[in-house]
């Protein structure tokens, strides 16, 4: 679980901390750790859901746990905002566009309190990484927009 730190409404540092996540490549057969990563987030522990593929001798890329349609790569991100309204605005801006590789990567955005929680599930790490990087670029733009043209008007 990646914690994105940052000032109130300020730029997210999540991009920089991506590489420090724990990677479970090679042999791990534990299931997707979404439940585990949620609780890990509470302790602020960094972690990336383990990738399930193991390359066996002979080059067979499929392990029994990695059937087409299963998404063993999980990544979660929590982005704090100054208020619940701003988290909801960010969610409203970033959620509507569909993922380019819908069949292989999906993400869910939830605004809970003043935190925008994003959870990715992907079939492979490469597509996951691409999706995360693109998301962070758009998130940064949303945050800059809110800084420059906010705060939100009263409802």
């Amino acid at each position: 679980m990646q914690e994105a730190g940052g000032d109130a409404g300020g730029g997210s540092r999540a991009g920089g901390s991506g590489s420090r996540g724990r990677r479970g490549v090679g042999g791990g057969r534990s299931g997707p750790r979404s439940a585990g990563t949620t609780s890990a987030a509470d302790h602020g522990a960094p972690g990336v859901g383990p990738a399930q593929h193991s390359l066996r001798p002979g080059g067979d890329p499929w392990s029994p746990a990695q059937r087409p349609g299963s998404r063993p790569c999980v990544f979660t991100l929590n982005v704090p905002f100054p208020s619940a309204l701003e988290a909801e605005i960010a969610r409203g801006s970033l959620a509507p566009d569909a993922e380019p590789h819908r069949g292989a990567v999906g993400k869910e955005l939830t605004a809970s309190g003043s935190v925008l929680a994003v959870c990715w599930r992907a079939e492979d790490c490469r597509l996951l990484r691409i999706s995360i990087v693109n998301f962070l670029d758009q998130l940064s733009l949303v945050m800059r927009t809110m800084q420059r043209f906010g705060p939100p008007v009263a409802r």
Partner: protein, 335 residues
């Protein structure tokens, strides 16, 4: 008197415009230009747009002399176009719409061109030739839809010109098409190229392959100059466009033609279309480069029409789409 803010960034131009009651109050724009011999890629283009869009937004508001409170609706390009650039612009539109609590409107890029063409020229019901780097369509309005009468079956005419410019390493500044046009004026020899009109439609990818091949050969033997090739390519593809436009005008009994889209800036194309129109006793309409080339005000104008007609785009339906046919939109603002 609603004022509409429009965001456009489906290709390498990014623009933010403000329109109120048929008046363009602001229309700043930036173009992402790549080195000669290269084209623009989605990721890099999106990065460019993200870097300049907020400055453009501020410029538009300042030039229009308006604050966020004066804006009644936020319009943006929902599609068609390149994915990452479209997303970069859409997220800003959604964010300001929510920050300022204003309604949001997703606009079809092609309809943006048409509505701005109609506004600027005053044409009442023209047959539209929409020609750009990304689109080539002949469009006529009928019963609440902009119907596509003819189109390219492969690449857009502007795409053909842009990719040919890469072969000759022609500069992309301000645009490859503009530089081809200038070179074509100095061309003297007409090189025969395939002429591929298919009924109501046109095809350009074969011409592109052919001329890329010819360029290698003829330039090395000195049989012709790059200027001759630019001239020959323009004459051929523009004649094809004139033919399919004329065919549509004959079908519709239309007395007006309107050229929109970036390739519409080309004076030679306008000349050839004018000749055809005069022969038919029809009138030709065209706009200048402020409005021919992708811009924010055209999105604002289409948005203004849609807003007045009661269209709204809920956030959940505001996702961009790379494929968006011109006839998918119900044109409720016209009879």
């Amino acid at each position: 008197m609603p004022a509409v803010l429009g965001f456009e960034g489906s290709a390498n131009k990014i623009g933010v415009g403000v329109v109120r009651d048929g008046k363009v109050l602001a229309n700043p724009r930036r173009t992402y230009v790549t080195p000669p011999g290269t084209g623009f890629l989605p990721g890099d283009t999106a990065r460019h747009h993200r870097a300049v869009i907020l400055d453009l937004l501020q410029e538009a508001l300042t030039e229009a002399g308006l604050t966020s409170e004066d804006i009644d609706c936020i319009a943006y390009t929902k599609g068609p176009g390149m994915g990452a650039p479209l997303v970069s612009v859409a997220v800003v539109a959604r964010t300001v719409a929510q920050l300022w609590n204003k309604p949001l409107l997703g606009v079809n890029h092609c309809i943006g061109h048409i509505e701005m063409g109609r506004l600027i020229t005053g044409a009442t019901n023209p047959t539209v030739l929409y020609v750009s780097g990304g689109n080539t369509q002949v469009i006529a309005y009928s019963e609440h839809r902009y119907r596509i009468f003819g189109e390219t079956i492969d690449i857009a005419v502007g795409n053909c010109l842009d990719r040919f410019a890469r072969v000759l390493k022609i500069s992309n500044d301000p645009s490859p098409g503009y530089n081809i046009e200038q070179m074509a004026k100095r061309g003297k020899k007409l090189v025969e190229l395939p002429y591929t009109v298919k009924g109501m439609d046109v095809s350009f990818s074969g011409i592109l392959s052919f001329i890329e091949d010819v360029a290698q050969r003829m330039l090395s033997t000195g049989e012709c100059t790059p200027e001759d090739l630019c001239f020959s390519l323009q004459e051929t593809v523009f004649a094809m466009l004139v033919e399919i436009t004329e065919r549509a005008m004959a079908h519709c009994g239309s007395q007006e033609a309107l050229i929109v889209g970036g390739v519409g800036c080309n004076v030679r194309l306008q000349e050839m279309m004018e000749t055809m129109c005069q022969e038919r006793g029809a009138r030709l309409f065209a706009t200048d480069e402020r409005f021919c080339i992708d811009n924010g005000a055209m999105i604002a104008q289409a948005g203004w029409e849609m807003f007045q007609a009661g269209h709204r785009t809920p956030l959940s339906e505001s996702g961009i789409t790379q494929r968006y046919r011109t006839d998918e939109v119900e044109v409720t603002w016209r009879d």
